[in-house]
Symmetry: C2
Subunit: 340 residues, 2 copies
Amino acid sequence: MKILLDGNGGDNAPKSVVEGAVLATEKIDHQLIIIGKEDEIKKELKELGYEGNKIQVVHASEKIENEDNPSKAFRVKKDSSIVKGLNMIKAGEADLFISAGNTGALMVSGIFILGRIPGIDRPAIGSVYPILGKDLPALLIDAGANAECKPNNLLEFAMMGNIYMEKVLGINSPKIGLVNMGTEENKGTPVIKETFKLLEKSDMNFVGNVEAREVPKGACDVIVCDGFVGNVILKLTEGLASNISALLKKKFTEGVRAKVGAVFLLNKMKEIRQEFDYSEYGGAPILGVQGPIVKMHGSSTGKAVSNAIVMAVPFIEGKVVETIKSSVSELERIEYDISE
Amino acid sequence: MKILLDGNGGDNAPKSVVEGAVLATEKIDHQLIIIGKEDEIKKELKELGYEGNKIQVVHASEKIENEDNPSKAFRVKKDSSIVKGLNMIKAGEADLFISAGNTGALMVSGIFILGRIPGIDRPAIGSVYPILGKDLPALLIDAGANAECKPNNLLEFAMMGNIYMEKVLGINSPKIGLVNMGTEENKGTPVIKETFKLLEKSDMNFVGNVEAREVPKGACDVIVCDGFVGNVILKLTEGLASNISALLKKKFTEGVRAKVGAVFLLNKMKEIRQEFDYSEYGGAPILGVQGPIVKMHGSSTGKAVSNAIVMAVPFIEGKVVETIKSSVSELERIEYDISE
């Protein structure tokens, strides 16, 4: 098994990527390849004193910046780590691509280089969503790739999320929930109502409509929504968590009494922050393309990169892409049933 | 000025409604009317020892339950507090209606009895949204009445929210933000992109697209979105706040050390909970109908009802409904400019 890392992608590249790779060699026994600016990567490897043979370096001279237009960057930057890296996946020279680079470019390049899985209309980004007080996160799909969706797209997202959670996180028969503005079947937009019917016809463990209030409480393992709503859920969660944390900090340092109390609670505060740590579950899978791609947060640390590498193993071994491919006929069966 | 209260609506009716009315008589000098089951209301008034002449009771024998279908309830329950109350508003027997009852029934009855404001295609519900660390909340509009919206609907929401925040909360030139999945003008669905153009042409203080991450930080005073997204924002905020609060409670009572720390922080924890208290700003205005209606949370306490009554005064005195009416021509101007 060969895991390919984008050495040019992310705010802290290549430093955090190299750090993550070195950390991962202590945890898993697979070949890692870092694609990017060779001299910079080798310098980082040297600084970390890594002398093993588990990390290989492939040169890619260009970097797709976050500001780059995805479609244009894909056409123009042929020697970028993303374009070159995905061509390596296509050629079978590596089994999975991990990048903290430009999400749009990763998506566009994934679709154009690897191709969509036949029968999947719209590939999507799944994002792990931490559930406070639970060991395993949920998967939110779509996390922002498709602003507007048709019922069949949402059905595809549910199916792909279902497979990912089963194969990669080991959740047996994941609970599939459809984000809606009420739990009743007749709630929501026409698209949501139609999606409800499709999901009901499926063999998945569909638990019905889920209100946003229940999402952070772990009402479902796969949170199905369009990319607009997915983006709102992810970003609002981020914003609120950081806001509440800032408020706690402010309140707990006002006056001597509060400061004394806060000292006693230092460890607990640290535990609370860890509950919000997305990075433990290894980034966001791009699902629906013919090859495994994992998108990481732009500001990923070495530890986060290392976690993504570890989680890549079940993504490959669980044959997520192949399982999605072979499940497409099930989607067609559902759509046929509904049109009957 | 006469403020009309729904004595049959809400989980704690008529108790909390009567409590709120009595509390409010100490704060404002206007006539209050409670419409509902006369004997029950009078019993509560007696229990509270109220003997003043500021609270009048009007009998309405029926209650629209939360489970009732709004359109059907409106047609069938003619002697319900909602239908009878809104007819009193129409007849000029009271100036504003406050209810903690069935939201859909309130909306449908408002539209059928009072009528839409000419030129307003879709009335909407505005919900106050607390901004941590700030004295004034934002207004989220639409909070759930219209799952799907056209650009002109969103423009109407912005205009109505703008007027409400100016007249009722006294915010000069409120910042109008459009919820989107990125700040760039070309982000989002076709509806959102078109709305962006309309808002840019308006005379309002449009601050552009606002990501959900920035909403709880107070990036804008009027949060414009369709009812689906509005529902997601409100419910997710509620769910996360309650979840984080439960986690804090759990963590802060684990072990002696944490318990000691928590004792020192009791007051601070109380202050933090208050920051999340929506009820201080008096419920959610239904905007776009020809009369002022305020929807309260079903579980509103006496204090919350009293706050809603106090906030009703600037809603009436600020002539919010009349100002919306006279601003409709501005909407037409914007739409004409765009179609040019």
